[in-house]
């Protein structure tokens, strides 16, 4: 297969970026999207040009490192996948493919397609944990309803990639925050700090320049792990509860 690639190139956070166009040929349909970029980079190095910087690591859809905006969609033209799980068979021979970084005020570009998502770590540092240490009770001491554990697991499947933020027209991180808050709140051991956690994480999110949620549900549609916006409703309830306690 052959493709025309329009790739966002940007030297660093301070400089202005632009699209560069590259042609690529002899790509097998079974090649993954990131392998296609590996091939492009190998060609660029041979041509004496600077390769395209992009984030990637596990290449099996779990580390959350890859973060490309392809043809106007976070992680490209398929549902419930990360960029590394996208294969060239999803495109037509001869297609022009536009590749951009996540675009959000809270995720400044480091270089080309690489962004800085440290804000996500900072939100979790504001309360995305259960405050325990040392020796704790036996694991089976508190039975937990299977449905609650399953729901917690659904929310905890978030890989922290940031597709929700990149997709949201307001650049909101509500789905990310809600997933963590909900994952912990569904379990008895996480309920103790639930309201306080919701409040401090939302405050941190606002402080870091993420936008507000206007309920367009775009985040859910593009989440590679299919995390439901129902968690946002739970977050809102907890947030109000915390406010009332103030």
């Amino acid at each position: 297969m052959k493709f025309t690639l329009k790739v966002w190139r940007q030297k660093n956070a301070k400089s202005k970026g632009r699209f560069e166009t590259y042609k690529i040929d002899n790509i097998s349909p079974d090649t993954s999207f990131l392998e296609m970029l590996d091939i492009l980079n190998n060609n660029l190095v041979h041509e004496g040009k600077e390769p395209v910087a992009f984030d990637h690591d596990c290449r099996e859809g779990i580390c959350g490192m890859c973060s490309l905006y392809i043809n106007g969609r976070a992680h490209g033209p398929d549902d419930e996948i990360t960029t590394c799980q996208l294969h060239m068979r999803k495109f037509k021979d001869g297609d022009t493919i536009t590749i951009e970084p996540w675009r959000s005020a809270a995720f400044p570009v480091v270089k080309d397609l690489v962004v800085n998502r440290r804000a996500f770590d900072q939100i979790l540092q504001a309360g995305g944990f259960i405050s325990i240490s040392g020796i704790v009770p036996d694991a089976n001491a508190i039975p937990i309803r299977k449905e609650d554990a399953d729901e917690s697991m659904d929310a905890s499947a978030c890989i922290g990639c940031g597709a929700c933020v990149a997709t949201c027209k307001n650049g909101s991180a509500m789905l990310f925050v809600a997933a963590r808050v909900s994952a912990l709140e569904r379990l008895p051991q996480g309920k103790i700090e639930a309201a306080k956690r919701a409040k401090s994480m939302v405050q941190k999110m606002d402080e870091l320049g993420f936008g507000a949620c206007s309920n367009t549900q775009a985040c859910e549609a593009e989440c590679p792990k299919g995390i439901s916006i129902a968690h946002i409703a739970r977050l809102n309830r907890l947030f109000i509860q915390a406010k009332l306690q103030d």
Binding site: K49, H87, Q125, N140
Partner: protein
């Protein structure tokens, strides 16, 4: 440098009491003094994150480093199947002793008894801790924790969170880490790669890192350094490791005097998605948990193989009587749940005999038709849904309808830095934990034991043992990074980087890395022999020269430069590759993941040589000559050493 003498420091006393007695005997550091001590942890996977969080909770000052943009990206996140513990919640006669014994036996009697017993002992605490952190383990309808079985075990002792257990455990450790970062006890340095270890008066006192965003070289000092950077599987280019996983920290420590133990013990995982073409960048694991229900087979008739390859028939059309469930045939007692090394070799044997089921001839089937019929599709979906989805995304084949195709691939490295019972390397003040050390898995690691070991080391072992070392250091002031040792190390790193840029050769890093991978897989892979290993050593020497004269690294330093990152790592992989081959050549026995073709039974089973090779091979670096081999003899006081038998 002082003469290296391996002292495993295994405590005296009965096996079951060693750890308790040791903890009582070692020194502790008071809370007031902990506040004055600094510890560097390199790596944020299960080992690094759990260690840093726990050390922070204890009151130490911790600096933690990772190469990714966030600690949560570490490759532990990709572990799928589960974590073992000796809880015996199923009342199926499991115990600390049984977990210990299975691990020793699974490791083909090449691990230390005392270390493995301690691992089994603390395994139960890990599950308690993870539940308290909010890890959403699978549960039964009554609200209690669920278990499943893994290879090499006849009990159900594996705890899991769907097919994402590593992710959930890492998120738990990362949450504890975040709590300490917020509390100010841990400082996190992201997108930093360790490029050298700094010794002052023979003790580990700091590291040199490259800031991957800016290209700057930075210095960090501490009272002790903990290496938690995982294994070196990417030496083989194609592996199930993440793209950025590398062995550079291990090699830097090795070159500074830390012995590298059992490098040839590399685990080849039997159930990975087969290689599809030359453009492939990595291999994807299909969790071992699939072998709980999935049945592995190849056709009995070569004519069916031909038809499959030509796509004239579908696998589901081959009748039951024409299928060879070769694991169930060869190993009736364990069937599809034999340990990984055994299952991998059996797949290779079938494919070498011409029964490989795809066009490359390097694939066997993992079939769910029978369990789907028995349990219903919904039950299978509940257990393995995300794995089936992942398989379909990659291969475009629906595994609910047709069997998966699988083949062995490099997955884990049992070898690593040599450590004593306290997890300290041969360099005072330098510790290695998790996959980065060698200590617990012998010649072969059992499924669901990597997560157990990473967390055992990080939550329960290292935080205790490091206190014993640091207690002698409470008067030592903070390490001064202006010390000449830092200057010297930094200059060496800078010179190495400059040298790489100056070569301006004709081959890219990936092209050279693929060459190394081919040599390793061909001669140092699933089956090894003397002639092949000698050839591999010669080829790696030649390739190393080629690398240092013909590599093409674009750009300049002082910038985000992923090609430079890869070049620095490949330079180290070349050294590890040779070390693996040297060790494999020395070990003229078949043992665990290391199979020497000269040493096999008539039935093709591995033949160990306990009389000559019951030792840990610890290699000491020497400049411009082959490394020196030190042997740590393994003494089995409790377990009766026997030939592994998974047949009856």
């Amino acid at each position: 440098m002082a003469e290296i003498k391996l002292d495993s420091k295994i405590p005296s006393g009965p096996l079951a009491e060693k750890w308790t007695r040791h903890k009582a005997a070692i020194k502790v550091v008071s809370p007031a003094n902990k506040r004055k001590m600094e510890i560097i942890v390199v790596g944020t996977g299960l080992g690094g994150a759990s260690a840093a969080a726990t050390l922070g909770e204890l009151g130490y000052n911790v600096k933690i480093f990772c190469i990714s943009d966030s600690p949560r990206r570490a490759h532990s996140i990709a572990a799928q199947g589960g974590i073992n513990a000796a809880k015996n919640y199923q009342n199926d006669n499991d115990s600390v002793y049984r977990l210990f014994y299975d691990t020793i036996k699974g490791g083909d009697f090449r691990a230390r008894e005392a270390n493995v017993y301690r691992l089994a002992e603390v395994s139960n605490l890990i599950i308690d801790k993870c539940v308290a952190q909010g890890v959403p383990f699978a549960r039964e309808y009554g609200g209690l924790l669920a278990n499943r079985s893994f290879g090499g075990a006849q009990v159900s002792r594996t705890f899991y969170a769907r097919g994402q257990t590593g992710q959930q455990l890492l998120l738990g450790a990362y949450a504890s880490l975040n709590r300490q970062i917020a509390a100010g006890t841990v400082k996190s340095y992201n997108r930093r790669e360790m490029l050298d270890l700094v010794l002052i008066d023979g003790k580990a006192r700091g590291i040199i890192v490259r800031n991957l965003e800016t290209g700057e070289i930075e210095r960090y000092g501490a009272h002790a350094v903990v290496i938690a950077t995982g294994g070196y599987g990417n030496t083989y280019f194609l592996s199930t490791n993440a793209m950025n996983s590398n062995g550079s920290a291990l090699i830097q420590c090795y070159k500074k005097g830390a012995c590298f133990a059992n490098p040839c013990f590399v685990q080849i995982h039997p159930t990975c998605i087969p290689v599809h073409g030359k453009q492939q960048s990595k291999l994807t694991l299909m969790s071992e948990s699939l072998r709980n229900d999935g049945k592995i087979w190849t056709p009995k008739k070569l004519e069916d193989v031909e038809k499959l390859r030509k796509k004239q028939i579908k696998p589901s059309q081959i009748p039951e009587e024409d299928r060879d469930y070769y694991l169930e045939r060869r190993y009736p007692a364990f069937g599809n749940l034999v340990p990984r090394d055994v299952a991998s070799r059996a797949a290779k044997e079938r494919c070498d005999a011409g029964y490989g089921v795809n066009d490359t001839g390097l694939a066997v089937f993992l079939d769910f038709a029978e369990p789907i019929k028995r349990l219903g599709r919904k039950a299978i979906e509940e257990r393995y849904g995300n794995l089936f989805q992942m398989y379909e995304k990659i291969t475009d084949v629906n595994p609910y309808e047709e069997p998966m195709q699988i083949y062995p691939a490099i997955h884990y490295t049992m070898g690593g830095l040599w450590v004593d019972y306290n997890l300290m390397t041969t360099i005072p003040g330098l510790y290695a934990i998790g996959e980065a050390n060698f200590s617990d898995h012998g010649g072969n690691r059992l499924g669901a034991s990597a997560l157990m070991q990473g967390l055992a080391d990080g939550y329960y072992v290292l935080p205790n043992t490091i206190g014993d070392y640091l207690s002698a250091d409470i008067q030592t002031p903070k390490t001064d990074v202006n010390h000449p040792a830092f200057e010297e190390a930094e200059n060496r790193v800078k010179a190495r980087i400059e040298k790489l840029f100056k070569i301006k050769g004709k081959q890219t890093v990936d092209e050279l890395h693929k060459k190394l991978g081919n040599i390793m897989w061909e001669y140092v892979g699933m089956a090894r022999n003397e002639k092949g290993l000698k050839k591999a050593i010669k080829l790696i020497d030649e390739l190393t020269k080629e690398f240092w004269t013909d590599v093409l690294v674009p750009g300049k330093n002082g910038d985000f430069n992923q090609e430079l990152e890869k070049a620095l790592r490949l330079a180290d992989f070349l050294e590890i590759g040779k070390l693996i081959a040297l060790d494999a050549l020395d070990r003229r026995e078949s043992c665990g993941g290391h199979f020497r073709e000269e040493m096999q039974t008539e039935e093709g089973e591995a033949k160990r040589d306990d009389a000559n090779y019951m030792y840990v091979a610890a290699w000491e670096y020497r400049e411009n000559q082959d490394p020196k081999l030190h042997k740590e003899p393994l003494n089995y006081e409790v377990v009766k050493v026997s030939t592994r038998n998974y047949k009856n």
